[in-house]
């Protein structure tokens, strides 16, 4: 994995963390749960594990220009 790949992975994880765990929550009777959201959360946890692995392998993730996903 080169620097750009690693940097992009971090950005994607940061995006998923925000989209899935942050933001306005519209709660109440009118909100509908329509799908297996739990599966999605599981997927994100697995991805976070790979970030740990990435760190352990000491892949360089450079600071630089802020990125948008």
């Amino acid at each position: 994995m080169n620097e750009i790949d690693a940097s992009q992975n971090v950005t994607v994880l940061e995006l998923l963390d925000r989209v899935l765990n942050k933001g306005v929550v519209v709660a109440g009777d009118i909100t509908i749960s329509v799908a297996d959201i739990d599966l999605l959360y599981l997927g994100v946890k697995l991805l976070l594990c790979s970030v740990e692995t990435m760190e352990q392998n000491k892949k360089k993730v450079t600071i630089g220009e802020p990125e948008s996903a």
């Binding site: 940061e14 998923l16 942050k22 519209v26 749960s33 802020p66």
Partner: protein, 233 residues
């Protein structure tokens, strides 16, 4: 959230964001606004069977919010916010109008940056220690003790350093939210709300701080829509 069994053919309204709709108009089909006074919810109506709930869908949702963020002051909604129809959306806007309005005013002209700081020393020390072979149990326990002591010292020094860094960055931001849950080699994680006009200064400051503390690894991401600054509490 209440779980309802929804037929595959049923149409649902997905809420992307709540925006300040007083000045600009939305032109991003298939998205459209459901307006209430000077705020609006940006929504999309779609059939349940066409919805995707995988990583790609979440990434695309985030990308849409970023495009919206370029044009509007917005409160991003969490991925997977579905309502029955436009009337339900309108009801949400009416019920929370004052809160949304106040938040939009607070966030006008500001964006979020995320900063994570990793300690490279911890990684190196950990790897180096793993290579040592112990002759007996006593040596092993002693090694563990020294590792523990060194680790505690590193944590103490890191904490002092990140406190200084955080103080510097707080001066350049309107608000900040620290992430309490940090693990592994991440010694600090925080989100900063930064005015658009001072964004480049903020980034330069982070870069300068990275230069001052080369033993730490800085991960700066952004600008993001203000995901971490819209909580009701």
């Amino acid at each position: 959230m209440e779980s309802l069994k929804v037929p595959d053919k049923q149409m649902l309204t997905c809420m992307y964001a709540i925006v300040d709709y007083s000045a600009k108009r939305l032109n991003m089909r298939p998205l459209y606004p459901v307006a209430y006074k000077e705020i609006a919810a940006v929504v999309e109506t779609t059939c349940k069977e066409r919805l995707a709930f995988d990583q790609q869908a979440a990434i695309e949702y985030g990308a849409t919010l970023e495009v919206l963020n370029e044009k509007f002051t917005l409160l991003p909604c969490r991925f997977g916010t579905f309502l029955q129809d436009e009337n339900a959306v309108l009801q949400v806007l009416q019920e929370h109008y004052f809160f949304y309005k106040k938040k939009l005013e607070e966030l006008r002209g500001k964006q979020e940056f995320g900063l994570k700081i990793l300690s490279e020393k911890s990684v190196q020390a950990h790897n180096a220690n793993n290579k040592k072979q112990c002759k007996d149990g006593k040596e092993y326990l002693l090694q563990k003790f020294y590792e523990y002591r060194a680790d505690e010292e590193r944590k103490r020094v890191n904490q002092k350093t990140v406190d200084v860094i955080h103080e510097e960055l707080q001066k350049l931001s309107s608000m900040s939210v620290k992430n309490a849950e940090i693990s592994g080699h991440v010694v600090f994680s925080c989100n900063y709300l930064v005015e658009k006009k001072t964004e480049s200064f903020f980034c330069s400051k982070v870069e300068a701080l990275q230069g001052m503390y080369p033993e730490l690894k800085f991960l700066l991401t952004g600008p993001w829509p203000p995901y971490n600054f819209v909580a009701e509490n």
